[in-house]
């Protein structure tokens, strides 16, 4: 077992122990915090598929996060107000069922990533960073000024959506749902990184001209990576909206995209569990520092700066040492 696997196992154990401990000591808010960390981790794992393996520095991932959020918001809004979502030759009703909402969020995220990727992948480097930022901003301004679903006020959903057989209003049950999804996506991510696609994508990041010389299209590889990434981040968006029972344009803001990247860097780039460690640390800091000072964001900034400048491997790197060649 490598040191990284030990760190991963420790993080995994924390994700199980903390909420169970909180349940035992009757601290439901800790469970809520843990749920928040798990969902943000899920979003960052999504980004990490594009960024970690494919090297796609997308500063517009809030777009997919927000789309997932609004998929939940719009479907649940129509369900709670008993108005059809679409009337025409056929009628589409809203829903409060999580699995359907997730499916819509995943498809929405994937579709948006496909269109944005098709256009953005013509560019590289800084231009790619900036064009993805531009697409994120388009969604942000659109949702603010479009009145149908609350504009800047957003949409409030009064009761959390349901999952067959569970009472999602009980914090630990909703946590379990999110945790299982995170595990599934992490498993998928681990498999993906070793699969032919992951190998090719990884090479497309390092030496695109080589990939082309063996008959593969690096842009198509990256596009598929972006679609998978958008789908996962979209799913996380739907869960995040369900956690807050609320969705608003802030999910589309560029700071959100920045935060997702912060998770990856804090945790350690190119690590499977990097985004998980990063999101956990971020939520913890937000919780601890927020109580200490009005100016806590400055401390967060300083810490982040230190990690970028000196702690290159991030949190996982500190404990697990240098990144190992996978396989």
């Amino acid at each position: 077992m490598s040191r990284e696997s030990i760190v991963n196992a420790a993080l995994f154990a924390l994700l199980i122990a903390v909420p169970l401990g909180a349940l035992a000591t009757d601290e439901p808010f800790i469970i809520t915090l843990a749920t928040r960390a798990v969902i943000l981790a899920l979003a960052a794992v999504g980004l990490n598929i594009a960024l970690g393996i494919g090297g796609l520095v997308s500063l517009g991932h809030a777009a997919y996060f927000g789309i997932g959020g609004y998929a939940m918001g719009i479907l649940a809004f129509h369900a709670q107000s008993y108005t059809p979502l679409f009337e025409g030759p056929f009628v589409i009703e809203g829903t409060k069922l999580m699995p359907i909402i997730w499916l819509v969020a995943i498809c929405g995220g994937a579709l948006a990533a496909f269109v944005i990727g098709l256009l953005s992948l013509r560019t590289t480097g800084v231009y790619f960073i900036m064009i993805t930022l531009a697409f994120g901003q388009m969604f942000y301004f659109f949702t603010i000024s479009w009145p149908a679903y609350g504009g800047e006020d957003g949409l409030s959903i009064y009761v959390r959506n349901s999952f067959p057989g569970l009472n999602t209003l009980v914090p630990i049950q909703f946590y379990a749902v999110c945790f299982v999804l995170l595990c599934a996506v992490l498993w998928f991510n681990a498999r993906l990184a070793r699969a032919p696609f992951g190998l090719a994508l990884n090479a497309a990041r390092q030496v695109p001209h080589r990939v082309e010389a063996i008959g593969l299209d690096p842009v198509r590889l990256k596009l598929v990576a972006l679609v998978i990434s958008g789908a996962v981040t979209g799913l996380a968006g739907a869960l995040f909206a369900d956690l807050n029972r609320f969705v608003s344009p802030t999910m589309f803001s560029w700071q959100m995209s920045g935060e997702l990247m912060v998770f990856i860097i804090l945790g350690g780039t190119g690590r499977l569990f990097g985004p998980v460690a990063g999101a956990m640390l971020f939520v913890l800091l937000e919780y601890l520092l927020g109580g200490i000072s009005d100016y806590w964001l400055a401390f967060l900034g300083a810490l982040l700066l230190l990690v970028v400048l000196y702690g290159r491997g991030g949190l996982v790197g500190i404990f697990a040492g240098k990144a190992r060649n996978h396989d």
């Binding site: 070793r194 699969a195 082309e212 010389a213 060649n325």
Partner: protein
């Protein structure tokens, strides 16, 4: 005369006012090593770029296996069997040596769109990759990280990756660049064997290598072909001696 495997017909490429290639025609016949030489800036890399599809010619055509491939992408040419090596090693340095050849074999087999099955467990692919490593004598290093092996070993790995494509022709851009005497000797021997498999268009600076391997030589200067012929013809060509060999050696 046998049909050439690969040929260019009056390829011309300009970058602004600079004419990088002017009406370059050459061909590569089965079983031969055809060396392309010329001083720095003669337009060799531009020509390789056009043959492999990275650079679009302004005028002229490229033919490969009897088909006009001028409009085809690098990928299509690669898939039909044009195996190239790069002047500066283009390898995934973070990956293992074996992974680099597996990648090549996957590209050739078109099995890249699998998302869950581990790449290294596809036995057909792996076998092919290991054979390629065997050919270039890198089997022992298969599990090392590419960033950790020596420069000479990487040059051979480049060749191994090209081999996984089962190419119908090789285009090698300065495979000996940066190699010591020992490395050069080994790689020369390898290329000598490989010509049986597929002909090699060899861009090379090392004249000893060129004259020991090449069946024919084309000399490029200021973007134009100034001579083509057997090694003996080139050695005695007055224009080549004046424009090129005289300065170099």
């Amino acid at each position: 005369m046998t049909e050439p495997v690969l040929s260019t017909h009056a390829l011309t490429k300009r970058f602004g006012a600079l004419v990088a290639n002017e009406a370059v025609s050459l061909d590569l016949r089965p079983g031969e090593v055809h060396a392309l030489i010329g001083p720095n800036g003669a337009g060799k890399s531009t020509l390789v770029g056009q043959i492999c599809g990275a650079i679009k010619p302004d005028e002229g055509r490229v033919q490969f296996l009897g088909r006009d491939v001028t409009e085809q992408s690098t990928r299509t040419r690669a898939r039909s069997g044009l195996g190239r090596t790069f002047q500066i090693s283009a390898l995934a340095m973070e990956d293992s040596v074996l992974q680099n050849v597996v990648l090549g074999a996957m590209g050739a087999a078109g099995t890249v769109w699998h998302f869950l099955r581990p790449a290294m467990k596809d036995l057909t692919i792996r076998q092919k990759a290991e054979q390629a490593l065997e050919r270039v004598g890198l089997s022992d290093l298969a599990s090392l990280r590419t960033g950790e092996i020596s420069h000479g070993q990487r040059r051979r790995l480049e060749v191994a990756v090209a081999l996984t494509l089962s190419p119908k022709a090789f285009v090698m851009d300065e495979p000996m660049a940066g190699l010591g005497a020992e490395g050069t000797r080994e790689l020369t021997a390898l290329l000598d064997e490989l010509r049986q498999e597929a002909p090699i268009l060899l861009v090379e600076h090392d004249m000893d290598v060129v004259f020991s391997l090449a069946d024919r030589i084309t000399v490029l200067n200021y973007g134009r072909v100034i001579a083509t012929g057997s090694t003996a013809e080139i050695r005695s060509d007055p224009e080549v001696r004046r424009a090129y060999l005289g300065e170099e050696s």
